[in-house]
């Protein structure tokens, strides 16, 4: 109970800090990387994820820790954001293509997300042995993740291309005004541009944007509901955040365990895959907020150097099979996951992980998440319970 109160205090404090923007919270995110999933430290093991952040940090608190401070830390980088191909443009970035003959038959490239390979590391204190012993090890894990394939709903590409074309038309009108409008602000803008005075240019552009926004929100019905370049940019951003109907992800990771104070030994290595179906629950895709029912299937092959073989600990191979079902009703997402782990050649060694999870977005940048249920364990399952304080930036949800 003391730990729960401690955590709630942390959340309250973090919310205040985030509100004051003292802490650069946009660099913190959720530990749902390959490195944390290998060591079963993630809230769930199955499921896919969206394009990863350029750089992210995360922490996760387990209630069964003797120490009240979080024991699990993770970091993730995406090299794609660090490199700058000379031929990059918006179309090859999002995988939107009009085909060889540049017709208006727009399609999405199903392999376009493969370039978002992420590299992750994690440090944790966790009981990694397959038996029912309660000891914990220091664990270091490193992993990689990518999306092999994704497919969007019908007309997704056509709708996105249409909105882009409309944005171009409206933006061209906005640029034309910069060269032809004779009102004072525009004249001052041109004067500042000739001076190279970017601060004044920015100030005037912001004033012009406010004027346009005020005209849309004003009483004059002639301007209400008018589509602007800004409103279309928001619509395009929303389309880009839409989940694919189908997604296939691949991950691999390696973990080493700390033995004593200075010795590290190989613990686990694994490769696993997840496929996920995301079914929008809204009848129309252009609703303000899309809600989803997500169903995922998961399979993992794992080499585990510390498998319990009869009364001895030795190396073994494990196969995981499982799945997940999740509902997303922003700001809440919840669901359940079941994973069955069997060690090949050792029929006596089977265990399951069965958890429920919930995630709540407290503010735009602050998440609270909880996972409760049974973790893997030989003979008898272990209780798994964890609460997470997660920071992120933007409208993204925590992806399990």
């Amino acid at each position: 109970m003391k730990k729960l109160l401690c955590l709630l205090c942390c959340i309250t404090m973090a919310g205040k800090v985030a509100a004051q923007t003292v802490l650069n919270t946009d660099k913190l995110a959720v530990p749902q990387s390959a490195a944390t999933r290998l060591i079963d430290a993630s809230q769930t093991l199955s499921g896919t994820s969206g394009p990863p952040k350029a750089f992210a940090l995360g922490l996760l608190q387990s209630f069964d820790n003797s120490n009240g401070w979080p024991q699990n830390y993770a970091a993730e980088i995406t090299p794609y954001w660090m490199i700058s191909p000379a031929n990059r443009n918006f179309y090859n970035y999002i995988g939107l293509d009009s085909g060889r003959f540049k017709t208006s038959n727009w399609k999405t490239n199903p392999f376009a997300a493969a370039k978002f390979v992420s590299i992750s590391i994690a440090f944790a204190n966790k009981n990694m042995s397959a038996d029912s012993a309660n000891g914990k090890q220091k664990v270091f894990s490193i992993g990689a993740h990518t999306t092999l394939l994704r497919a969007y709903r019908k007309n997704y590409a056509a709708g996105l291309a249409a909105n882009l074309q409309q944005w171009i038309v409206l933006d061209k009108a906005a640029i034309l005004r910069q060269y032809t409008d004779t009102s004072l602000l525009y004249r001052q803008y041109r004067q500042a541009r000739l001076r190279g005075d970017t601060a004044t240019m920015r100030t005037i552009r912001q004033q012009l944007d406010k004027q346009e926004q005020a005209s849309i929100q004003g009483a004059d019905q002639q301007f209400q509901h008018r589509v602007t370049a800004d409103s279309l940019a928001v619509a395009i951003e929303k389309q880009l955040n839409e989940k694919p109907i189908f997604q296939w992800d691949l991950s691999t990771a390696y973990a080493a365990y700390g033995v004593g104070d200075s010795t590290w030994k190989s613990g686990r290595s694994a490769v696993w895959t997840s496929v996920e179906l995301n079914l929008p629950l809204n009848s129309q895709a252009d609703k303000t907020q899309l809600n989803y029912l997500s169903v995922a299937a998961y399979m993992r092959y794992m080499y585990d150097a510390y498998t319990q073989n009869k009364k001895e600990v030795g190396p073994g191979n494990a196969i995981d099979l499982g799945g997940k079902i999740m509902f997303e009703f922003d700001p809440v997402s919840f669901g359940t996951e079941y994973v069955h782990r069997s060690y090949t050649g050792l029929t006596a060694l089977k265990s399951q992980r069965f958890v429920g999870f919930i995630n709540y977005r407290i503010t735009k940048a602050l998440y609270f998440s909880g996972t409760f249920g049974n973790d893997f364990g030989f003979n008898k399952p272990r209780l798994f319970s964890a609460l997470g304080i997660n920071w992120g930036f933007g409208n993204e949800k925590v992806s399990f």
Partner: protein, 155 residues
């Protein structure tokens, strides 16, 4: 590119740009001058080019336009040398950088590349790869404005 503190807006007064880039187009009545613009960014973009007077007021319709969200202007004739000498070639690009990760957007902002190419004038093939201004309008790397002004001279 300059960054200055925001200050009061002065009354209109023409200020001659001291270090504006120039391109010698010549004085031929039959030499078409060509412009192309190459925008390198992951954002979606739009570019327009105008011939203007010294106050940056357009003297006619646009002379170059991007046709899709890449923001690129394919090689296009902006006029014969004799007709455009003495004018400013003024180019504006708007870019919207997408994504919920501000760190990734900031990285993309710093990696935007612009290449303006003029051809057929006395100066021949000339490339300009430094925009005059590059402004993060919203302060969150979502809405970017990039400008370039080039003085076209006869000699």
């Amino acid at each position: 590119m300059q960054e200055k503190d925001s200050c009061c807006l002065n009354p209109i007064a023409f200020i001659s740009p001291a270090n504006m880039n120039t391109y010698k187009v010549g004085a031929s009545a039959t030499t078409p001058i060509k412009l192309s613009v190459d925008v390198t960014t992951r954002g979606f973009a739009d570019t327009r080019a105008f011939l203007t007077d010294t106050d940056l007021v357009a003297i006619g319709p646009s002379v170059g336009d991007s046709s899709n969200a890449s923001g690129d202007i394919a090689p296009t004739i902006i006029g014969n040398a004799v007709d455009i000498a003495g004018r400013y070639l003024s180019i504006t690009t708007h870019i919207r950088i997408t994504g919920t990760d501000i760190v990734a957007r900031q990285m993309e902002f710093t990696r935007i590349k612009m290449l303006y190419t003029l051809d057929n004038g006395i100066d021949g093939h000339k490339e300009f790869n430094n925009p005059d201004t590059m402004i993060d309008l919203n302060g969150d790397y979502t809405k970017i404005e990039i400008t370039k002004d080039i003085l076209l001279t006869s000699i």
